[in-house]
Subunit: 115 residues, 2 copies
DNA sequence: GTTGTGATTCGAAGGTTGTCTAAGTAGCAT
DNA sequence: ATGCTACTTAGACAACCTTCGAATCACAAC
């Protein structure tokens, strides 16, 4: 990605997205377009050590364990997080490369007009 | 936004999102989490003059005019685009401030771990 | 006025999603 | 083995979303 180009706006506003590219990105965006999954992603990423146990996450919501498990699966299928079982507990962590794809889409390359 | 802080990851992965903040952002993300709307946003932003007529947009899809109109309304309701009627045609343009909110969420502040 | 074109709104059909309960799997401790 | 705890899978149901055709609105030209 030639970041040296001077442009006013986010990449998404600089050239038209291809049909397949848009479809791919939409899958990724659908995964994060949910309040619970946004918070899960945020909680996992900001947890000490960069990873969080499911037990840490479930208590923060008024939702049942299967529902949390479902949301974690959606995030994992999208490639935004990965997981591993260590003994009794299952730990999740963020996959930065995938998160960065979203950042690259919307991030302004030059000074934003406001905020 | 204190951008001077040295951090490894996107803001979303640095501290837990609040419940209401997550709900707000989810609304915004839902608006862009669709292939058609992603392409619409992209086409509007990259169009000459920074704005596009609905007639320009409709032809690029295998969808009926009401469907395109619906998607434009979703984007407009979310505050991602704005519109104005000038004579016969209706023109749409991007609201950069709103797009930047998404960029600020996922953009890494320092070097990403990879890529 | 009337007619024609661009765009939106309305109402409905079909598919997708979020949530639950119930049941299942994996590991630890007795 | 038995039981207990942590987590996932399966199935069901209500709510929502995308899409369409038909109707409607807005404007320009005649």
């Amino acid at each position: 990605m030639t970041a040296s180009t001077i442009a006013c706006c986010a990449p998404i506003a600089r050239e038209p997205l291809g049909e397949t590219e848009a479809a791919e990105l939409a899958v990724l965006l659908k995964a994060v377009a949910d309040p619970v999954r946004l918070r899960l992603l945020s909680m996992i990423g900001s947890h000490a050590g960069g990873e969080a146990c499911v037990c840490d996450l479930t208590d923060a919501f008024d939702l049942t364990a299967p529902t949390i498990s479902h949301h974690l699966k959606v995030l994992r299928t999208a490639g935004l997080i990965d997981s591993e079982r260590r003994g009794t507990w299952v730990y999740y962590w963020i996959v930065p490369e995938t998160v960065n794809r979203l950042g690259a889409l919307f991030a302004p390359l030059a000074e934003p007009a406001a905020i």
